[in-house]
Symmetry: C3
């Protein structure tokens, strides 16, 4: 079967804020969640079955048996093969058909019986998939920070928003005083700070100068005594959001989220939280966990309301101002990467840097 | 932003029995239901947020923040402004953006940051909205009857039918003997009466001559001793249904329903029931309430079945006879008003009057 | 109303595996299920109301009153007529309008007030409908086998798959070793047998030569001592599936299923199970019933997964091999019957017969 003949799910007319970058590695599962049973996931609207062979290697196939189009995720793993649950056809990690039970005297790897396979690797405790069928992987998956001695936690959460809306939400400061009022910042305390914006060819970051320690619960738990604040929000193409805080000399806090576009309006976040403070991590973790959950529940609610409004109106129509610091840059980088032929270098290699004075509610 | 650029929900191809009259006042809420919290309503398929400022005035905005398109109904009222729950943008009743928290040195009323506003007034205990963005309100909302000394009740109910189907149902006599058999009329007792039909430029009415007191429960409760019956069913453009009964000299009963087209197949009725009888209203109210609820439940069920059949067949195909007295006239008046440029006078100013003999089951 | 003007539910673009054969009799209900109350059913996507008049005759009308388009199935039967529940219009079995309550001095059978009627007969304990409005019935409904002295059971079950997928599933042998592993066959025991395939103009059958008794539960219950196996799987146009087993001289087992295309992806099976064995049927029935239910639950699950995958991908893309014995022939016969003008004889009157060696897991 040629690439042209391969049936894939139909794509709806894309929304203005949806950018689909196919030539990239995306996290599709926590490596621990992929054990003996095949796992159904969706990436960029395409249904995939993930499986781990007995020798431990991860495989990713289109979640549809070429025989009668049932999902292969309803089957099971046998040795190095994934076995369909309907008629027992067997496939290897490359999609080759290795057995058709009952069929006599015919080789088991005929081209038209192949399942469609996608590159899959295990790296840093996550399973990554490269969703392009036309372009082979270039480069390795994103490297998460290595911070020895830090307390760590991994979390997988779902956001009912576009990849762009979810990334912007994760890296946006002003909404925290309103949507999460009191938990992280409050709307009452106002400080004028300087935001330094830098855009590179494959990432963008915002650094805040002169920011006091956030006055909400989280800041007071992480750093009761306060100190000089170093704060960076970072975006890495195609889908990584990173927030870094240093407060004084003892407190360092970092959240790195690999965001995966499940479909146009569903994003899954695979987050690594890393921190050290004056207090033992084991003490702080149970204090921070419910607050983090509450903050994310508020974000999820708002992203869901945004999505349902966009769908109801048949499209989005955003109006940005100077304090939407990273959102428009993320959108521009994503749109450029979407259009770019994969072999070509980014069109915009120079660093863009400028400063803005904003009133930060802390 | 020009009117042409303003994004509104997409409109489906209209059904034959759906007429959308935009240049008119519609009730969108009981005034008592609009207190401190903003209220999400839908009018003619358009999502609106209603709010009441601290000074008491009602406002109606498109339920979408121009910034990131979340519904403004998820926000809150502060003073004279509606505050978005995501980033705290503030809007006045005219849609002007009065604050963007964090943004420095810029006026708060820039044109592209405006929310879309609709005329809203409070009148007769209801909140009314004028859904046209192109034409300013002409005239005042409909005046409900003032009947001093009468017992009154207000009810807000939902009907799963088009505005036309709901109006026709409210003003149709023949179905009451079948759908509501025994409650209001019965299919057994047959009388020949005269129906006088009058159509004006902006309304239509049907008067029944020679009608005996309805023999069902409602008639016997309202007027045990009976008497001469005066019965009018009235429609007023764009969406008012009124049923009036006088039985003998002591009983007078009037239901005026402002029907609001929520969407093509959802109608909300804001009803005022007014009556006087020989007995105290406080005694009759608890007797009539459960019967009225049961009658409306039967109508709602039938309108829902009608709607699902129309949707299933992809359209309606009605066949009327001489005893569909008001329905076809309501449809004609609505279709004329839909087509008419708002500045123009109705095309059909003369009164149409004719009589029909029908067999009324009472 | 001409045929051209008659409103019927819109038809979606057909899927490759969906064949709609209109000129045929289909079972729509167990005759016992059609008593005093009208019954709503769907056939080939068209909503029908079935009713039985007081004289016992079955009627089938389009489930939509021509007056205000409510479903006639919400009404009731009076004498020889079906009465609409909204305004009491009455229809006979031919769709003629026999009463419009309240309307005076007009005949009750005007053309534009007719309901759309479909040919309906009662035969063999089932109600059958002929869904074509353009072509009158040719021939009689399918005759189920008459097997005196056999134990019989009738079952009505729903399958969430196309008619073709459901028929193929019912007549497919290889999947039984995987999907129903242990219940009927097992994947472990392998035998080489000969399948003889015969396709006629209006049916196809597969005979298995040299097949041992299936080793699963069902085979051991039906025939503990085994014996020579005679096994036929048969398809009759448009929608009948039949499985016949003889094991030794004492055991004979036959399932005949009239499959009805409710809509493109919903099929209803009206099955007659007939068997005789060495043991009394009353003893075997309670043993076989839960196993049959479990087998069908597994098939239903798989057909549902197949359907949702096909819908998700916007179409099917099947790849068959030599051991898909009947499926491709069923598809060919259905597609030919769909295209064929009803007056014309089948294009393919000769018998096709060939043999295949397959490895049967028993």
């Amino acid at each position: 079967m040629s690439l042209e003949d391969r049936l894939l799910p139909p794509q709806a007319k894309p929304h203005a804020s949806v950018a689909k970058i196919s030539e990239a590695w995306y996290v599709v599962a926590d490596a621990k969640a992929l054990a003996k049973k095949p796992l159904a996931v969706t990436l960029l609207g395409t249904p995939l079955v993930l499986f781990r062979t007995h020798s431990g290697k991860p495989g990713a196939l289109l979640d549809r048996c070429p025989h009668r189009n049932v999902p292969l995720s309803a089957g099971r793993v046998e040795g190095e093969h994934l076995v369909c649950g309907y008629h027992g056809w067997q496939f290897d990690r490359d999609g080759g058909c290795r057995d058709v039970p009952g069929l006599m005297g015919v080789g088991g790897n005929e081209r038209s019986r192949r399942a469609t396979s996608f590159p899959a690797v295990e790296s840093e405790g996550w399973i990554w998939v490269w969703p392009s069928l036309d372009v082979a992987p270039t480069g390795s998956p994103f490297r998460f920070p290595t911070l020895p001695g830090y307390t760590e936690a991994r979390r997988v959460v779902e956001a009912p928003g576009t990849l762009h809306a979810t990334l912007e939400n994760a890296l946006d400061v002003p909404h925290t005083a309103f949507l999460h009022g009191g938990l992280f910042r409050t709307a009452e305390k106002r400080n004028t700070v300087t935001a330094v914006l830098r855009r590179y060819a494959d990432r963008a970051e915002c650094e805040y100068l002169g920011e006091p320690r956030p006055s909400g619960l989280v800041g007071r738990i992480l750093s009761p005594s306060g100190g000089v604040v170093v704060h960076f929000d970072r975006f890495f193409l195609p889908s990584i959001a990173q927030v870094e805080y240093r407060i004084g000399s003892e407190t360092h806090f970092m959240v790195t989220s690999a965001c995966t576009p499940v479909s146009d309006f569903e994003t899954r976040l695979f987050a690594l939280v890393q921190f050290k403070t004056r207090f033992p991590g084991l003490v702080l973790k149970p204090l921070l966990e419910p607050i983090a959950r509450r903050i994310f529940a508020q974000d999820r609610l708002m992203l869901g309301l945004q999505t349902s409004t966009i769908k109801r109106f048949g499209g989005e129509q955003f109006e940005s101002t100077d304090i939407d610091l990273l959102g428009p840059h993320i959108w521009r980088l994503m749109k450029e990467a979407e259009r770019r032929p994969p072999s070509e270098a980014p069109r915009d290699p120079s660093v863009v840097e400028y400063e803005k004075r904003i009133e930060l509610r802390t």
